[in-house]
Amino acid sequence: MTEQHHLTLTVNGRAHSCDVEPRMTLADCLRERLDLTGTHLGCEHGVCGACTIIVDGAAVRSCLMFAVQAEGAEITTVEGLADGETLSVLQQAFHDNFALQCGFCTPGFLTTAETILAENPSPTRAEVQSAISGNICRCTGYVPIIDAILEAAERRRAGKK
């Protein structure tokens, strides 16, 4: 039905509910309804990766999911990565490696990289390059992003949380 659907979902550990039209994308729901504007829209056709979020453990394009499809889902956005004031290991590695400039693509890289490292704690450089190939950055030339993800993997393995 085109009328509003009542939606309940968990974002960054907090339960949310709101009414959405079926056609509202999950990205727009997060940004406009839940005011979680850290998730960015760079193309709205599933290529740039800026809108990547983690839905039930998997990195997905939030511009290619409708909010109604996230009923009951556990979602993590960039706002949910830090532990209070403490940056996550990955965020800190991005900072230490100058892995961001304008910052617009950064949330999508962080969410994608979090799922990569959860799945594969010891990725090779080539694996990291391939894993983030669905995220476009126009500023950094990717090199420091790859360095940061590899460094985060190493720090996580060493148990430095």
Partner: protein, 770 residues
């Protein structure tokens, strides 16, 4: 300075990062104002058509639609978008108004506007707008434009935006006596900046106040304010341009575009804030394209490869209108064609042709990327023809330090004083050759390793930085001792806040964490120059330095008053004023700020400064090298290794400099292999999504070494900075093109056109029977 400089020259971690890493940055689409409506634009689906009628009734009837309008509904004289740069005579005939009146001239030109409660509804309404177009033939190439058969702006009577000839020395003499000449045609592919964040604006227009507040502004806010004030017949102080976080600029963002007028008009019509966020489909047709030139370049040399002269015709495809960047692309391509070489005679016929495509503007290294590709490709052909090693040929022709400074002549009309400043061009090339192992590679060109042909290409460049009006800064100490820097310069994401804070922290001898940098908005400082042409570190950096120095002086003056003593006995160090005759007596910046305030409501511990380089540009220069492996059977090219050297005078923050070089280089790889705005003969853009407009991704990277040289500090500012934002991109196509040709030297192909694609490379090889 009496203090050390722990920050300048150090890779200080960026102050901006935390908000971006935690999703708490504030980009334009993150700004929400009470009662705000959204705007969407109906854009021309035709490249060239007359508008017979526009019917907005069905759009207006959609529930949730607040307003819909077209040119006929706007109750003001439609202003023209002004020329900001390279405003050559003749261009005034081809300026754009914010919305099409009786004719559309490119796919993507605004025709009508819808205001609605949300973007979904606005797009529903766009689908219901009925426009009766009478299509006209589209002009899609410079040759077609030059023929003048189809006129795009009838009143102009031609499609030649303007045309001029520039030069120095006598090319006729040089060419008539030359033992060797060669002429080639080169084309560089139309592509663009394509920042990750599309453009966006929010206008709050209260005609009674009067106040026009425009959020989402960046780059050249004070220039834009002046023109918007004139367009809307407001005093300048009634127009506020507010800069938010910006998701990349690269030249295209922050210029005045039609939407900078349409969003305020929409707000004024409806008495409420209106937001417009460009979507990616719009972005690829509505935001400036760049790079689109055809260059016929001819060179004359002696038998030992000494350049005697160069002559050229540069034809720039301007798109349908001349926008704010005027003739920058083609004029700078012409100016930089001779490059860092000793070219005693040079002449160039520069043509600016109007076509039915998206208007062009600047993109990182405008004209330089193009000029370097043409010249450096031709130099490699000369080297091959004369049997001289390409590096040796360049070393024979690069200007020596003793020849500098060098007045290059009036290679852009009116630019009579352009002068290459001091430098050591051969040093930058020699360091590149060492780093890339040129001596080892030069005799191995074309070697087959693991089934692929390998080649190493090199290219040299020079490029200007830090032009334009003075830049301003105000440094204020708050009562808690924290420092606020305000500057007229903008940040488009490159780390401006960090860089300026580094300078201020060193000059005030304080901890950088005490500094907060506010930038760009016209509400911060009375005037400013903005951000373009790699100028922030040079211009705003020196303004901050001067303001900090003035603040030290002011601190000493205040301390003298406070202690009722002579300023001569006081010294500023370690963030405080010390009393020479009483080593225990110290007044901190916080105490001095409090003291200043106690003296009256208008008193503060603050200092203003403006830095003016009086038009004296600093030139960054250097060289690039690419090692490529070509799969001859498929035309697939891998860039295995890339090295560049870039003389930047002095690195403010080496890690950020490295970021500029690597980021620029990878953008350049995109322009060399991928990025391409392709139009069909009807003027339809065929690459209107990211499925077809290809940007470089993380799997297409070479091993990169970017070396910033600090051998030749700029003499035009006391900190010695030169721009560092564009040297990474400007010679990429040149070096890669040369590398591919060397790799395929057994097949005798040339690369004169960009982008280099597997399809094109195979076509060239097929033509040789490979």
């Amino acid at each position: 300075m009496t203090t050390s400089s722990p920050y300048i020259g150090a890779s200080v971690k960026r102050l901006e990062d935390r908000r971006f890493l935690t999703g708490t940055g504030r980009y334009i689409d993150d700004v929400k104002l009470p009662d705000m409506a959204v705007m969407a634009i109906y854009r021309s689906p035709h490249a060239h058509a007359r508008i017979n009628s526009i019917d907005l009734a069905a759009a207006r009837a959609v529930p949730g639609v607040i307003d819909a309008f077209c040119a006929a509904d706007i109750d003001m004289d439609l202003p023209v978008i002004p020329l900001r740069l390279a405003p050559f005579d003749g261009f005034e005939r081809f300026l754009q108004r914010p919305i099409a009146q009786d004719k559309v001239r490119f796919v993507g030109e605004p025709v009508a506007v819808v205001i609605a409660s949300d973007r979904y509804i606005a797009e529903d309404a766009l689908d219901l707008i009925e426009v009766d177009f009478a299509p006209l033939p589209a002009v899609t190439s410079v040759d077609q434009a030059a023929s003048g058969e189809t006129l795009i702006h009838e009143d102009a009577g031609e499609n030649m935006g303007t045309r001029y000839t520039v030069g120095r020395g006598d090319t006729d003499d040089a060419f008539s006596d030359a033992p060797y000449t060669r002429r080639e045609r080169f084309t560089t592919n139309r592509h663009g900046a394509v920042p990750m964040e599309t453009r966006g604006l929010i206008a709050e227009f209260d005609p009674d106040a009067p106040l026009l507040r425009l959020y989402g502004a960046t780059k050249v806010n004070f220039f834009n304010r002046r023109h918007l004030a004139a367009a809307f017949d407001l005093p300048e102080e009634a127009v506020e341009l507010i800069e938010t976080d910006v998701g990349g600029g690269f030249g295209a963002r922050g210029e005045l575009y039609p939407e900078d007028y349409l969003v305020p008009i929409a707000s004024r019509r409806n008495g409420r804030p209106v937001k417009w966020i460009e979507d990616r489909r719009e972005n690829l047709t509505a935001t400036n394209h760049s790079r689109d030139i055809v260059c016929d370049l001819e060179i004359a040399t002696s038998n030992d490869g000494k350049i005697l002269g160069m002559r050229a015709t540069v034809q720039g495809d301007m798109g349908a209108y001349v926008r704010t960047n005027g003739g920058v692309v083609a004029s700078k391509a012409a100016q930089f064609l001779p490059g860092p070489y000793r070219v005693p005679s040079f002449s160039c016929d520069v043509q600016f042709l109007i076509t039915n495509k998206t208007p062009v503007g600047t993109f990182r290294g405008p004209g330089r990327f193009e000029a370097n590709f043409c010249r450096e490709r031709l130099l490699d052909m000369v080297a091959a023809d004369l049997n001289i090693d390409p590096a040796e040929l360049r070393l024979r022709n690069l200007m020596e330090p003793a020849e500098l400074p060098y007045r290059i002549g009036e290679l852009v009309p009116g630019d009579v004083n352009a002068t290459f400043d001091r430098g050591n061009y051969p040093s930058a090339l020699n360091q590149l050759l060492d780093e890339v192992g040129y001596a080892d590679w030069k005799d191995r060109q074309g070697e087959i390793i693991d089934g692929r042909a390998h080649g190493l290409g090199i290219a040299c460049f020079i490029e200007s930085s830090a032009a334009g009006p003075p830049e301003t800064a105000r440094v204020t100490v708050a009562p808690d001792g924290n420092i606020e820097i305000r500057t007229g310069a903008s940040s488009v994401g490159q780390g401006t806040e960090t860089g300026l804070a580094q300078i201020c922290a060193d000059y005030l001898a304080i901890d950088i964490d005490r500094i907060n940098v506010l930038h760009g908005s016209t509400t911060l400082v009375p005037t400013g120059g903005g951000t373009f042409h790699s100028r922030n570190t040079v211009m705003a950096g020196n303004a901050v330095r001067m303001a900090a120095e003035a603040l030290r002086t002011r601190s000493i003056e205040l301390a003298a008053l406070r202690w009722n003593t002579d300023a001569g006995g006081l010294e500023y160090r370690d963030g405080a004023v010390h009393r020479g005759d009483d080593p225990g007596s110290i007044l901190s910046l916080a105490e001095l700020a409090a003291f200043a305030r106690s003296r009256g409501p208008d008193e503060a511990l603050a200092a203003d400064a403006a830095f003016d380089n009086e038009g004296k540009l600093s030139y960054s220069y250097g060289a690039h090298a690419a090692l490529v492996a070509v799969d001859v059977a498929t035309g697939v090219i891998e860039v295995k290794k890339y090295v560049l050297t870039e003389e930047i005078g002095r690195a403010l923050n080496p890690a950020m400099v490295q970021g500029q070089a690597v980021g620029g280089l990878v953008q350049g790889l995109g322009g060399t292999f991928l990025d391409h705005m392709i139009y069909d003969e009807d003027g339809q853009l065929l690459t209107g999504s990211f499925a077809d407009y290809l940007l470089p991704t993380s799997t297409e990277l070479p091993e990169i070494t970017a070396i910033a040289l600090e051998e030749s500090p700029s003499e035009f500012n006391p900190m010695g900075f030169k721009g560092a934002g564009e040297g990474g991109i400007v010679a990429v196509a040149a070096a890669v093109g040369n590398a591919v040709v060397h790799a395929l030297n057994a097949h005798g192909i040339q690369i004169n056109d960009l982008p280099i694609t597997p399809n094109r490379l195979r076509a060239a090889l097929r033509a040789t029977g490979t």
